[in-house]
């Protein structure tokens, strides 16, 4: 008839028949154990033995996390920033800057395993702002603020020679080709989108996106998930021909550095004295970060340019509002970033019979005996949060696109070749190409 599986209940007793033969001793032990640690013992299936042979419990190996380097990290960071500023502004030698870059790659990257880096620290800071209970260690705060302060003073010297992510890309940039400037400018919108997404993710508590998709940390640690390593590998191979692809088209921290560097007190200059407009430097920059002098003759009437600028300024609120509206539609897809929403959707799908069986997450949830309604309520609340966040994200992206359109349409007067303060990484490639020497 039926196949019987006898459940292994009671199958595990201590020593089988030995147990009964030593019943007396054991009873004694039991009484002893219950007398002295009755309460603590109540939850255990088997009493803890008393050893006649004088055996003692071995110690458990609990190594403490190494704390020694933390102070060093901050010191090295500040020193490297200061040295980089000095090299970029005073020494003006590409080779020296490059050596410092390599040092940073080795120290912050391979030695310190690429964690915490300034790029990721944005998220910790955001988490600290959003969640009062989340404590941000001082080290992380310094890693966040120091490069920004240096950018306000001296430009993006952090990118030039301190950031390990920038450094590894600088190391592989062998044969950079020039990306068409228009394409470069369009692609430079993506760091803003990435920053917005990452901040939304942190604010809603769905994890640190920037760390999950860090392409190079796997290289520094010599290990990561397969997809992360492949992403890193692709970025490095791409980086041979398109210099610093991550910095230019993805890095969210670069957005903040860009803003600060635009205001920098002293920025790297191409010529130590006056530009003779030879144009040699423009060709040397792989980042499209050198602005040409304003062309002498304009192919279009001044009034036409002014009219267009007016239209674009009026377009700014329209784009922002459009972003706000479209962002609100992204409630569902964005909310899937959150594990709780993913779980709620999975459980709901299982209730609807959409899946065969359970997965690890839903099993763990069902084992926890939390009512489904509680999970659903939490997910609904989170989704509403993502709806709001999506609107702000959309508005932010709309605003950025509008501002970029306006910024290219303003005619600026430039006498000679100048680095673009926002996008120049102060890498120093152009220095040696300038024929004007001090």
């Amino acid at each position: 008839m039926k196949r019987y599986v006898v459940p292994p209940l009671g199958g595990f007793s201590r020593a089988g028949s030995l147990w009964t033969s030593r019943l007396k001793a054991v009873l004694h032990t039991l009484a002893y154990v219950f007398l002295f640690c009755g309460v603590a013992n109540a939850e255990f299936r088997f009493p803890m033995p008393e050893f006649a042979s004088g055996y003692e419990h071995p110690a458990v190996h609990t190594p403490i996390p190494s704390n020694a380097m933390v102070g060093w990290d901050v010191a090295v960071l500040i020193a490297a920033l200061a040295l980089a500023s000095f090299l970029v502004l005073k020494r003006r030698k590409r080779r020296e800057i490059f050596l410092l870059t390599m040092f940073s790659m080795i120290y912050f990257g391979f030695v310190r395993n690429g964690c915490v880096c300034s790029v990721g620290s944005v998220q910790n800071v955001m988490a600290g702002i959003c969640d009062p209970a989340y404590g941000v260690p001082l080290t992380v705060l310094i890693f966040f603020a120091a490069p920004l302060i240096f950018a306000l003073l001296f430009g993006r010297v952090f990118c030039a020679a301190v950031c390990p992510l920038g450094a590894i890309q600088e190391a592989v940039a062998i044969k950079p080709v020039k990306v068409p400037p228009a394409v470069e400018k369009v692609l430079s919108v993506f760091p803003y989108i990435y920053l917005g997404l990452a901040m939304l993710s942190v604010a809603m508590g769905s994890g640190f996106l920037i760390c999950q998709y860090d392409p190079f940390v796997g290289v520094f640690r010599m290990g990561a998930s397969f997809s992360m390593l492949i992403f890193g590998g692709i970025m490095l191979v791409l980086g041979i021909f398109v210099a610093r692809p991550y910095c230019r088209f993805l890095c969210p921290y670069g957005v903040l550095l860009n803003w600060c560097s635009k205001l920098s007190r002293r920025h790297a200059v191409i010529t130590p004295t006056d530009c003779i407009q030879c144009g040699l430097c423009a060709d040397s920059c792989p980042y499209n970060a050198i602005n040409e002098p304003t062309p002498a003759e304009a192919p279009e009437a001044r009034s036409k340019g002014a009219w267009r600028l007016g239209v674009l300024i009026l377009l700014l609120p329209v784009l922002t509002a459009l972003g706000f509206g479209v962002g609100g539609l992204l409630k569902e897809p964005l909310s899937r970033l959150h594990p709780t929403v993913q779980l709620a959707e999975r459980i709901a799908g299982e209730e609807l019979g959409r899946y065969e069986g359970t997965n690890i997450e839903s099993e763990a949830f069902r084992a926890s005996d939390t009512p489904n309604e509680e999970l659903y309520a939490e997910a609904v609340e989170l989704k509403a949060g993502y709806g709001r966040g999506g609107r702000w994200l959309g508005a932010f992206i709309g605003l950025v696109i509008g501002c970029k359109l306006i910024s290219v349409s303003i005619l600026r007067k430039r006498e000679g070749y100048e680095p673009d303060r926002g996008t120049c990484y102060s890498c120093g490639r152009c220095f040696k190409y300038c024929p004007v020497k001090e």
């Binding site: 008839m1 039926k2 196949r3 019987y4 599986v5 006898v6 459940p7 190391a171 062998i174 068409p180 400037p181 228009a182 394409v183 400018k185 369009v186 919108v189 290289v219 010599m222 290990g223 397969f226 590998g233 144009g279 040699l280 060709d283 040397s284 040409e292 062309p295 304009a298 192919p299 279009e300 784009l319 459009l322 479209v326 962002g327 539609l329 992204l330 569902e332 897809p333 899937r336 929403v341 709620a344 959707e345 709901a348 799908g349 299982e350 209730e351 609807l352 019979g353 959409r354 065969e356 069986g357 069902r366 659903y376 609904v380 992206i397 696109i401 970029k404 290219v408 349409s409 040696k432």
Partner: protein
């Protein structure tokens, strides 16, 4: 110092070194990726051969030396492969890093020794104005792309959660219109005056006609109204509505539903239910037609091992049919159907997927479904409590009650174990009884919340046949041929009786008598009292697996080959 001085020989050497290093890097990367892909397919610690050997060992009783030896060898190879692979990966990674370092260093040096000479203003560089125009166009294109992507994502990502919440709101807010368009409820009295499901009204094993005959003789035909041959075999039991008896049968050849005239035994019709799927493999002890049919008075419903669920009118015309998904079940589908007149309940607890579903009787539209978490072969019971009707389901671990209108779980108690086939019993008032071999019998006192366990009993337990309860007594019949009577309130043993053959058919309480048929086809009629008293034992002359149906003055018994109508 000239920063653009050319040293072609050194440059060439550096380039060659870089080329060699790059080739090395390429080869190592390809090897590492190939290794990863291979490892994804073949997990050495879960090597199928090793798992198979372990299974083999677990199934032998003596612990064969050869298998043990093989396991040890395979285990050693598996671990060596696992750790060796980790070592290889580490070495590969280090090699990759060194190779890349050499390659890039050489390339940098070659650039240093053969520097690119500066060029001035490439002629093909677009002018400032053209660049700005191009940028504006590209930016507009990107913006349109972003909006389109957002819209696509917004409509592509659908929320199951929203659907579930919507359903629950619908259920909470407008049950009335939902019912109005569905089939009309059947008065409980009408259900009770028929035998609409396995073990009668509500599936509780209690007959509402108490006039069943106590003596007949199959051989001479005395007291047997008619006897008809059953066209297709099946383990399911007969159901009766008015003057018609319905049953099903199935084998590899086909799935059939058939109907007999209750007064004459004439086969009125036989309808083939065409399977829309390939028939699954089932155990011979269960067959393709183990679940008993159910009726709401207007339609009859049948389900088969293929998961094919069909509704026919009383004249055998197909009303609706659907496949619920081929059940993955080591024995086959065992749980029978049950209807409250409006909804048809299907307990669908199989290996991969467990759920209970309710369908609208008239249309077959799903009314609700609720996920469950353990396999079962038991049939639901529908009880009337003070707080309203409850649908009671047994599974491997729990007894769970659902609201028959919404499918909402009302309570659950963990008190079962083993592979559960017996259904719950009910004393008609406030105690639900469940029992299974390898677990225990439990009496659950209903109190509005999670019921409390009144008592438990673990001596003689049912395996296939379901227990039955009267207002004061609780009866169990076992596969070993024991019949036990317990006090419903205390669980005290009132009597125990041993018979020759085991029981697969469930006992039925008919007034103050219990009817129970053993596998050998002997009908035992005994008094449902504190002391064991046999009224009669009557031989049917063939094996009986099914539970009989009791109507006014009549009993319908499905034997292996014949359907009998006992009565005048």
């Amino acid at each position: 110092m000239n920063e653009f001085k050319q040293r072609p020989v050194l440059g060439l050497i550096a380039q060659s070194v870089a080329l060699v290093a790059a080739l090395l890097v390429l080869v190592v990367s390809v090897l590492l990726i190939a290794d990863h892909v291979r490892l994804l397919q073949m997990d050495p610690l879960n090597d199928p051969t090793l798992l198979e050997l372990r299974d083999q060992l677990a199934n032998t009783t003596d612990g064969s030396e050869a298998v043990v030896e093989q396991i040890r060898t395979y285990d050693f190879y598996a671990r060596r492969a696992f750790f060796g692979n980790q070592e290889q990966r580490r070495a590969g990674g280090a090699l990759l890093l060194v190779g890349a370092l050499v390659c890039f260093a050489a390339l940098k040096l070659s650039k240093h020794w053969k520097p690119r000479l500066p060029t001035v203003g490439k002629p093909d560089t677009p002018s400032h104005w053209e660049m700005n125009n191009l940028f504006r166009q590209l930016m507009a294109g990107t913006a349109v792309f972003l909006v389109a992507l957002s819209l696509f994502l917004a409509f592509a990502v659908q929320s199951d959660l929203a659907m579930v919440l919507e359903q629950s709101v619908e259920q909470a807010e407008m049950p009335a219109p939902h019912v109005a368009q569905a089939s009309l409820p059947v008065p409980a009295e009408e259900l009770k005056s028929n035998w609409p499901a396995l073990r009668g009204p509500g599936g509780l094993g209690v007959a509402h006609f108490t006039s069943a005959p106590v003596s007949w003789d199959v051989e001479s035909g005395d007291g047997v109204l008619w006897k008809s041959e059953i066209p297709v075999f099946g383990f399911n039991s007969p159901i009766v509505w008015g003057n018609r008896v319905f049953m099903s049968g199935a084998d590899e050849e086909g799935q059939e539903v058939f109907c007999f005239d209750a007064d004459t035994g004439e086969e009125l019709w036989l309808k083939t239910i065409v399977s829309t799927v390939e028939l699954p493999e089932v155990s011979e002890d269960t067959g393709h037609a183990a679940p008993t049919m159910a009726t709401d008075g207007t339609r009859v419903f049948a389900i088969f091992a293929s998961g094919e669920l069909a509704a026919l009118d009383l004249d055998g015309n197909l009303v609706w049919q659907k496949n619920l998904g081929v059940p993955e079940n080591p024995y086959g589908m065992g749980s029978s159907l049950l209807s409250d007149g409006q909804r048809l309940f299907v307990q669908y607890d199989h290996e991969e997927l467990q759920k209970v579903m309710a369908f609208d009787c008239a249309t077959g539209k799903p009314a609700w479904q609720t996920a469950r978490h353990h396999i079962s072969w038991s049939t639901p019971a529908l009880i009337e409590t003070e707080a309203g009707p409850q649908l009671i389901l047994n599974d491997e671990e729990n007894v769970t009650a659902y609201d028959p209108a919404t499918g909402k779980q009302l309570w659950t108690v963990t008190c079962l174990g083993g592979e559960v086939a017996p259904s719950p019993a009910f004393n008609g008032k406030d105690i639900v009884f469940v029992a299974n071999e390898y677990a225990q019998a439990s009496a659950l006192k209903l109190n509005g919340g999670t019921p409390e366990i009144l008592w438990q009993y673990d001596e003689y337990l049912p395996e296939i046949s379901s227990p039955v309860a009267g207002s004061n007594l609780f009866f169990i019949s076992t596969s070993a041929g024991d019949m036990i009577c317990l006090d419903a309130a205390t669980g005290d043993v009132k009597w125990e009786q041993e018979f020759d053959d085991g029981f697969s058919s469930s006992p039925v309480l008919v007034g103050d008598r219990i009817y129970s048929i053993d596998l050998g086809g002997i009908v035992y009629i005994m008094e449902a009292t504190d002391e064991y008293k046999e009224i009669a034992r009557i031989e049917m002359g063939e094996a009986v697996y099914a539970t009989p149906a009791f109507m006014d003055n009549r009993i319908y018994i499905r034997g292996e080959e014949y359907l009998y109508c006992i009565g005048k």
